[in-house]
């Protein structure tokens, strides 16, 4: 039995615990506990008052019994009584019991809160700490309600002890996490920021955590923290390892605080003040320098702490993305880690490099490490690290190294883990296409890909090969030859057979001259594999055969024999049977002319996606392109699981117009035409004939087009937006929306924000769609619309909070109700923050709510127009601007823009027919402002003159600004 003196321990408790431990069986334990409970009950009965010591002892026993897993339904009162004791040990046990056992709906909560309040009000720091810890441990809503007002006061009070401040900051942080809506913002926030200057590093650390969390919620309030954080950081970084005494951890000065400060800085853009900025850059440089120094200790703790600071610094550098010098240095530093012994370091280095690769400044620097990364891919033992290496290779790929990277990835694919094969396949396919200079290389690569990892090649990949081959005359012959050779392998993948069937069907004639690949040999080669395939592939091969009939009349008889055989004509599968019957009839009845027309070569596929690509490329440097594009593609492929009939049909209809007759028969390009449902195309005679007796045609394989050629509707609408620029150049973005109400507001790798809005008089409603483009859930998703300064009174915006979790691939909608009170200039700001894989993301976008949205068009005659025009002749009412056209001067486009602007376009009003005039009324809650405008283009000089007359000067100014940006 442990010898415990009465002074510092509780003998009864020790005896009880050792009794329990000595119990031989569960039954014995329960008996002992029952006995003890009865004893405690009789003591608590209230006949005679217990002294503090025994109360503490019994509460302790109860706590122990509870922790053993038994129900405790009494003793709460005694525990609460302990709170009012003046002895530390008794108070401590009381608080311990309450934090562990008291549930929030207990009726004792008032008593407890009272006890806590008393302790908070006492000036005894240990008691205050106990109370604060209890609040933080329980963290219930009731407690938050009761104390959120008091804790900030304690936190910023001048006379509070350091340790209490520390606890108060952390307690507030906890309450902010459990019930963020209850923590009030007020004048204390500015004083909290000054805690960053505190003498006591513990207080600074606690305060930094608190400020970081609060700053994510409302960045504006804590803006001043940036400069303080920078100065604090620089003091830490430059200090010698002995300066900070207790806060030096294995020779690293205050690593936790440094990391937290760096995190805090990541909530904000780079500081605008030059001095602060300089100082920060200096700090970051120092951190990078320190990484180069030889380690002061061999202990793993030393290097861990040092690297933690370093990685956080690097992510800050990446976050700022503004100092090319730092970015390159960070990249080099990471490059060293790529060969480090620690697996974790290698992983982190690769991951950070991935983000670095997307920055235009450091893309080149990242590229220098290509050999190391490739090496990592080959030799790395840990699969997660290999995965990161693949990601990084993909991110650093551009035209100069595409061939090398693709070759390496293909090499690796043969030995890759099954879990990441599909991803690699997709990446290879995308890279090969994007950076294909030489299309024979592209064809080779993809065929290789199918050969190596056929199972992991999704439909879209081989659809894309075919599209590219058909669209490029120069590779057709080559690809036919390659495919033919590839098919000669004894075992080839079904996907390869599909590609082979399609390409030979189209371009088999190009290699028929060679006796080694004569028509009959080609046919026999394909047919030898026919029986091993699934139904859709067989259907495709049947189409190939009928194409052969057209291409090589000499083997027509052979093919007809095949089609006539029972295994085709009486196939159990309706689709195959029908194809066989129809093709057989077609080949025997139709003359060669008709055959040639019907089975003509496929027309080129329209290049839809590439238009976006070229546009993006024009706008941005090559460094930025891969990301944007890649995400788009990945998203498409993610979603492709089910075909969406609507979009398929529309794309297919437009596709098939150039050569209706060919497509309709479902030859060659089977996938395309089959999605054109017969009733939808009533024009041609052939259609009618076939739609009557062959409804089954409509149900063939899925469309080849969908995934490649039609990006989502959302993104097609606003091709002109440059998503990457959205955050910084918000003004430019708002301009895009001046003349239209729907479109994509913002897009990056993680999310896409779509917009739909409608306005009537002074009211508007805006639907915002947040789409999660990743496969992981966004957590604590929070949005806020901020109206700054004067805008608060000019615009009323109401909205409901959205669900805090957005699943991967999901979209959530938020509705804003907007009321225009009076005319305004600024645009409201939409602030979004969420957690993605642990990292907090924060972005701000200007909402395109502009004054012109509240226009009501007014029709008027020429006479009326000029009469009003003259009435508004006062000099401050007219605003005129002459400017150069930014876009080609097209009358129709201009008209559309003016109508989109909101005014009525008045025809035949102006004596000069090339001039445009418009009229409308802006509705706000307070006033209505009539508005007349006149736009006079000068095509020779490529200039416009815009004149606006309204009854209010400010309105004229603003409208003129808005509209002049549009032309």
């Amino acid at each position: 039995m442990p010898a415990v003196s009465k002074g510092d321990g509780m003998r009864g408790l020790a005896v009880f615990i050792s009794d329990i431990r000595n119990c031989k069986s569960k039954e014995a334990e329960i008996k002992r506990i029952n006995k003890e409970l009865a004893n405690i009950r009789s003591k608590f009965k209230g006949d005679k008052a217990l002294d503090g010591y025994s109360k503490k002892k019994y509460v302790c026993k109860l706590l122990f019994i509870f922790l053993l897993g038994h129900d405790i339904d009494f003793g709460h009162m005694e525990a609460v009584n302990l709170l009012s004791s003046n002895r530390y040990t008794e108070k401590q046990i009381g608080y311990l019991f309450i934090s562990v056992l008291v549930n929030s709906n207990s009726e004792l909560i008032r008593l407890i809160n009272n006890g806590i309040k008393n302790d908070l009000a006492s000036r005894n720091p240990t008691f205050m700490n106990l109370a604060l810890h209890c609040i933080a441990n329980v963290g219930s809503r009731e407690m938050a309600e009761a104390f959120t007002a008091d804790i900030p006061k304690i936190l910023v009070a001048g006379d509070t002890m350091d340790s209490v401040k520390q606890s108060a900051a952390l307690c507030l942080l906890r309450l902010n996490r459990t019930s963020p809506d209850l923590v009030p913002m007020g004048e204390w926030t500015s004083r909290v920021v000054h805690l960053l200057n505190d003498q006591h590093l513990g207080v600074v650390t606690a305060a930094t955590s608190l400020i970081t969390t609060l700053a994510q919620k409302n960045p504006e309030e804590f803006k001043t923290s940036v400069s303080l954080a920078v100065s604090r950081l620089s003091r830490i970084v430059t200090s010698a390892s002995t300066d900070l005494q207790d806060y030096t951890y294995y020779f690293v000065p205050a690593p936790w605080l440094s990391v937290k400060l760096l995190r805090l800085l990541q909530c904000y853009p780079p500081p605008e003040d030059g001095a602060v900025r300089g100082r920060l850059t200096e700090c970051l440089e120092t951190i990078l320098n320190k990484a180069q120094e030889p380690p002061k200790s061999k202990k793993v703790q030393h290097s861990n702490a040092k690297n933690a600071v370093l990685f956080e610094a690097i992510s800050l550098i990446i976050h700022h993305d503004s100092e090319p010098n730092l970015l390159v240095r960070a990249c080099n530093q990471l490059g060293q880690f790529l060969q480090h012994r620690e697996t974790n370091l290698r992983y982190l280095a690769l991951e950070s490099m991935c983000t670095l690769a997307s920055s235009e400044f450091s893309h080149e620097a990242v590229k220098t490490h290509i050999e190391t990364v490739i090496n990592a891919l080959k030799t790395e033992r840990d699969v997660s690290v290999r995965q990161r290496a693949v990601d990084l290779l993909y991110a650093m790929c551009d035209r100069s190294n595409a061939q090398q990277i693709v070759a390496e990835m293909l090499n690796y694919l043969e030995t890759a883990d099954y879990s990441i094969r599909e991803e690699i396949v997709l990446k290879v396919a995308i890279l090969a296409e994007k950076y294909a200079v030489d299309y024979t290389w592209y064809v080779d690569t993809i065929l290789n890909l199918i050969r190596i990892a056929g199972d992991y090649v999704s439909e879209e990949v081989w659809y894309r090969v075919i599209q590219i081959v058909i669209n490029r005359d120069d590779v057709q012959g080559y690809s036919a030859k390659t495919v033919f050779e590839a098919l000669q392998a004894p075992a080839c993948h079904e996907n390869l057979l599909k590609v082979g069937g399609y390409i030979l069907g189209e371009f088999g004639n190009l290699i028929a001259g060679d006796p080694r690949s004569s028509p009959l040999i080609q046919f026999n080669l394909l047919h030898s594999k026919f029986h091993l395939c699934s139904v859709p592939t067989r259907a495709l091969l049947l189409s190939t055969y009928i194409k052969f009939v057209n291409l090589f009349p000499e083997i027509k008889a052979t093919i007809q024999d095949v089609l006539r055989s029972d295994s085709q004509l009486r196939n159990a599968d309706v689709e195959l049977q029908q194809r066989a019957v129809e093709y057989l009839r077609l080949s025997s009845i139709a003359s060669t002319d008709i055959l040639a027309t019907v089975l003509e070569e496929m027309p080129p596929f329209p290049e839809r996606e590439s238009s976006i690509l070229t546009k993006l490329k024009k706008k941005k440097g090559p460094g930025k392109v891969p990301d944007v594009e890649e995400t788009k593609k990945e998203r498409n492929s993610d979603m492709n699981g089910s075909t969406e009939p609507a979009s398929v049909n529309s794309s297919a209809v437009t596709m098939s117009t150039p050569s209706t007759s060919t497509d309709l028969l479902g030859l060659g390009s089977a996938p395309v035409l089959n999605s054109v449902a017969p009733p939808s195309a009533g024009g041609s005679l052939l259609v009618d004939v076939f739609s009557d007796n062959s409804p089954a045609v409509a149900s063939l394989a899925p469309s080849a087009e969908e995934n490649f050629s039609s990006p989502r509707i959302g993104s097609t609408d606003v091709v002109s937006d440059d998503p990457a620029a959205a955050v910084h150049d918000a003004d430019e973005l708002v301009d895009k929306f001046v003349c239209k109400n729907n479109g994509v507001l913002f897009e990056n790798q993680l999310m896409q924000i779509g917009l739909k809005s409608e306005f009537r008089q002074n009211l508007g409603r805006m639907y915002i769609f947040y789409g999660n483009k990743t496969s992981t859930q966004f957590q604590s998703f929070l949005t806020a619309v901020i109206c700054q300064d004067a805008l608060k009174t000019q615009l009323n915006i109401q909205t409901k909070q959205v669900d805090p979790a957005v699943d991967g691939g999901a979209q959530v909608q938020q509705i804003l109700n907007i009321e225009c009170v009076s005319d305004f200039v600024e645009a409201p700001i939409l602030n979004i923050q969420f957690r993605y894989g642990g990292a907090l993301q924060n972005m701000s976008v200007k909402l395109p709510v502009t004054l012109n949205k509240f226009f009501q068009p007014t029709e008027m005659t020429s006479q009326d127009f000029f009469q009003r025009w003259k009435q508004l002749a006062a000099p401050q009412q007219e605003v005129q601007k002459i400017f150069k056209a930014k876009h080609p001067m097209d009358t129709e486009v201009t008209k559309a823009k003016i109508i989109g602007f909101g005014v009525a376009l008045l025809d035949m009003v102006d004596p000069n027919p090339s001039n445009f005039t418009g009229a409308g009324v802006i509705h706000t809650k307070n006033i209505q402002v009539g508005c007349l405008l006149r736009l006079e283009p000068n095509t020779q000089a490529q200039m416009y003159r815009l004149t606006l007359r309204t009854s209010r000067e400010t309105v004229s100014q603003r409208l003129c600004e808005l509209l002049s940006e549009q032309f």
Binding site: K24, L37, A38, N39, R41, K45, D73, H76
Partner: protein, 435 residues
């Protein structure tokens, strides 16, 4: 068939491990320990299936006996075997405890070799086993004796050897019954009641005697009653009992029981259990419990319990114990009783009232004041039933031994020469009254 047999102590340490078949691997021992003995939640089912292996276990005080098999065996057979195994061990070294098992390692392995062969149960008759598995040192047996044992074990009557001789032919017969009862709170309505009984014999008879056992089985009495007058059948009908089901020792000739319902057998030597039976009708309830529970406010409870003995005044019940459960928030108890001793046992959450002896047709009462501690838990006390233990010198089922005849044609003693002793003991099983 049984693949292996393990014996564990309360900590789950293996004391005895005997594997009979190859399909039971070494890990089976651990599987049972992890999943049953050390299970986080108490395993209540006696049969556990782990990875396509079945474990049948019984627990004797702190000792676990587990039979393991991978086949689809007759579970009842396995349990019968396990119980038999317990009986055999008790017969050899008394109480089954960890210490006793550790002290008798060799003996237990010897027994296990004998009573199970390739997982098939063999002769588990204690009397027979004792002839060739002894606890004394190895006694060199003569060839004659050896051959005798062999012929006995392999012969038709494996449970008795030939040539037994006693100077005094004696026979003890015990009828042991346990009464189970659940009574409604008003003390008027029997919710469920049954008696499970055993007839245990100890025979010291010479030669190979043929015995015949007769009791007041209703079917037998009725059959006989048909021939005689109605009156006798009526008067004896009251005496007869309806037996719901019964099982016999292997020595009883079942064919004869099936056809004539007569119990005839050649008894083993020494102690054995002749039959087991169960009755549910016309049970004599030796005691009646009348509880009175009154809640006075939130902090007090008054309990009054009256027990009435319901049998002939000349008989004496013994070892009476009444257990009155108390609420979980009891903080103090005051008890007053006229007879016996009563005490509040906190560790069991009950008041235990003990009376040494009590004659029939008497009544006795206890009253208690229970103080309660107010709790913030809204759960109401579940009021578990009051239970009772006792022992009475008669059979509560009403079973009577009518005769036990012994015939030994070869030797010169007759039925009259045998000294016979009969004893009835009725004990309480689960004897509860709701309150």
């Amino acid at each position: 068939m049984i693949g292996g047999l393990f014996i564990y102590n309360h900590k789950g340490e293996v004391l005895i491990s005997r594997v009979y078949r190859d399909d039971i691997g070494r890990n089976a021992v651990d599987a049972f320990r992890v999943n049953v003995i050390h299970a986080r939640q108490q395993v209540r089912s006696p049969v556990t299936n782990i990875a396509r292996t079945s474990f049948f276990h019984v627990k004797r005080s702190n000792i676990w006996l587990a039979a393991v098999t991978k086949q689809n065996v007759n579970a009842a057979m396995v349990f019968e075997f396990l119980y038999k195994m317990c009986d055999v061990m008790t017969a050899y070294f008394g109480k089954i405890s960890e210490e006793n098992i550790k002290n008798n390692f060799v003996l237990i392995y010897e027994l296990l070799d004998e009573i199970l062969d390739f997982g098939y149960p063999q002769n588990s008759e204690t009397g027979a086993l004792k002839t060739f598995i002894t606890q004394q040192g190895i006694k060199s047996q003569t060839k004659e004796e050896q051959s005798q044992i062999t012929s006995q074990v392999t012969g038709q009557i494996g449970w008795r050897r030939e040539g037994i001789k006693y100077r005094r032919n004696e026979l003890f017969l015990d009828v042991l019954e346990s009464v189970n009862l659940l009574m409604s709170p008003q003390g008027s309505q029997v919710l469920s009641a049954h008696v499970s009984g055993r007839v245990v014999m100890k025979s010291y008879l010479s030669g190979m005697p043929e015995c015949k056992f007769g009791m007041n089985d209703k079917i037998v009495i009725d059959k006989q009653g048909k021939g005689t007058a109605d009156e006798t059948s009526k008067s004896s009908g009251k005496q007869s009992i309806a037996i719901d089901d019964c099982t016999f020792h292997q020595c009883v000739r079942l064919s004869k029981f099936d056809s004539e319902r007569s119990i005839s057998f050649i008894p083993p030597d020494g102690e054995y259990e002749l039959m087991r039976y169960r009755t549910t009708k016309d049970i004599i309830l030796p005691f009646r419990v009348i509880p009175l529970v009154r809640e006075v406010g939130r902090t007090k409870l008054e309990v009054k319990v009256v027990i009435k003995s319901n049998f002939k005044p000349s008989l004496l019940a013994q070892k009476i114990e009444v257990r009155i459960p108390t609420p979980l928030n009891t903080s103090g108890v005051q008890v007053i009783c006229m007879k016996g001793k009563a005490k509040y046992k906190a560790s069991e959450n009950a008041i235990v009232w003990k009376i040494k002896r009590m004659a029939g047709m008497k009544e006795s009462q206890i009253s208690a004041e229970i103080e309660l501690l107010p709790t913030n838990d809204k759960k109401k006390w579940a009021r578990p039933p009051i239970s009772m233990n006792f022992e009475v010198p008669f059979a509560p089922s009403g079973l009577k031994v009518r005769y036990l005849k012994v015939f030994e044609p070869k030797l010169n003693y007759s039925d009259h020469d045998v000294i016979k002793w009969v004893r009835y003991i009725g004990r309480s099983g689960i004897y509860e009254t709701r309150c």
